[in-house]
Amino acid sequence: MQGFFLIFNTSDQNAAVSQCAALCSVPAAGTRGIPRGKAPAVLDKPSKRGYNGQELPKKAEAIILEQQPVQTQDVLTLAMDLGKSMIQCGAEISRVEETILRVCYAYGLQDTQVFSVISVIIATAFDKDGKSETQSRRIYTYATNFQKLEKLNALSRRIFEKHIPPAEARSRLDEITAEKQRFHPTVCLGYILSASAFTVFFGGSWKDALCAAPIAVILYLLSTLIKVRGMNKLFLTALSSAISGFLAIGFVKLGLAENASMIMIGDIMVIIPGLMLINSVREMLCGDVMSGLLRLLESVIISAAIACGFAIPILIFK
């Protein structure tokens, strides 16, 4: 309780006490989503056990001492931007929702409602006066990027374990999301390696694997076009599928490879949303039916586009 005594040493006692109330107290039982029967923490008896029996932020006192009132709006904006970046680099929906709730909680907003699917997040946070702040985010493009996800995860961990000031968290988030590089050599290498490996996995020869590599490079270059021009994703997928189908058949006609369908399946493994399908089933079984359904539909539509793209060269050269 050292921090609690420190509060009373500050010059502006009343302000400090009222802010302490903001961080320690919860709304009366029975109102706004808090079920009856759970005893809220009482101010005159400073307990470390808060709402739902969870420990209150350890550095809450430190925030008060710095005399920086935390704005509901800033906190919610920070949490939502964090959640948006997490969805964009491939986090599960349940994880994103939990992160937003925990970030809001860490800064003293104890009642937050959040709903998210892969393309939108909506959240409302209530402050101690019962005033609410609602924000939403729309997500258009996403690409799996675990490096970024790990950084975001580390940041959110720092927020709800160490309670770093919102401004610091904000600047760190901007730093993480600032990266604008378009071409990544290692990603390109990943395309080549996985396309060649899956050509062999499905029964192709080493010649087929070699021929799958240049097609994978073309697929990667085409996939970067989405970000450049905001091109329609479905059309681009069908187009790149058709191009790689023609190339695969061309390589076999030139005598460089043996089996066109093996080259095709190797390259398909890189672009087909198989992982998205697994994740959609996972989400539906976990209770995020809405998000899972959207993901399932999207993966089916994208694979239909891929199938259409490959059907063109296959049917022409039948």
Binding site: I34, F146, N153, T186, S194, V200, I272, L277, F310
Partner: protein, 153 residues
């Protein structure tokens, strides 16, 4: 399936895992761990195809193994388990089956379409159930830290 075929299958699957680990831009010092997870999963998978006929069970056990290993790794390296799970199950993901399903649908070959669809659905269900069986219990262990209010009023 003889041992030579199995070995080729194993090595190409591990190479594929490495490729996807790079494609998903996993942090460089974690690539080795992800590769280890992929190796384990493929090894379990190759054993499973000798014992089970049904695609659901062929994929359920590798997914269980992959998720257990990934959750352990996530605790050790303090990073999200998703990245390890994703990289580990990559060789089992029904990409080929999903493509053939849609291909037969587009070309109008209905008997083949039905067979491919069944295969895709069974594989996806097996993997998803395998992952969930483990992650539900891990979530239970984590749950005391932060409780989302899900009670109805």
């Amino acid at each position: 399936m003889d041992w030579k075929q199995s070995l080729i299958l194993f090595l190409s699957a591990v190479a594929g895992t490495l490729g996807f680990a790079l494609l998903f831009r996993i942090r460089k010092r974690l690539v080795g761990w992800a590769l280890l997870g992929g190796t384990l999963t493929v090894a379990v998978y190759i054993i499973c195809i000798h014992f089970f006929e049904h695609a659901f069970f062929q994929n359920l056990l590798p997914a269980l193994a992959a998720t257990l290993f990934s959750e352990l790794l996530a605790r050790l390296t303090k990073s999200p388990a998703t990245q390890y799970i994703t990289c580990s199950i990559i060789p089992l993901v029904p990409g080929g089956a999903l493509y053939y399903t849609m291909y037969y649908f587009v070309t109008g070959d209905m008997p083949q379409f039905r067979a491919a669809l069944t295969q895709t659905a069974r594989t996806a269900a097996g993997l998803a159930v395998g992952i969930i069986c483990v992650s539900v219990f891990v979530h239970l262990l984590n749950f005391h830290k932060f409780k989302i209010d899900t009670e109805t009023e």
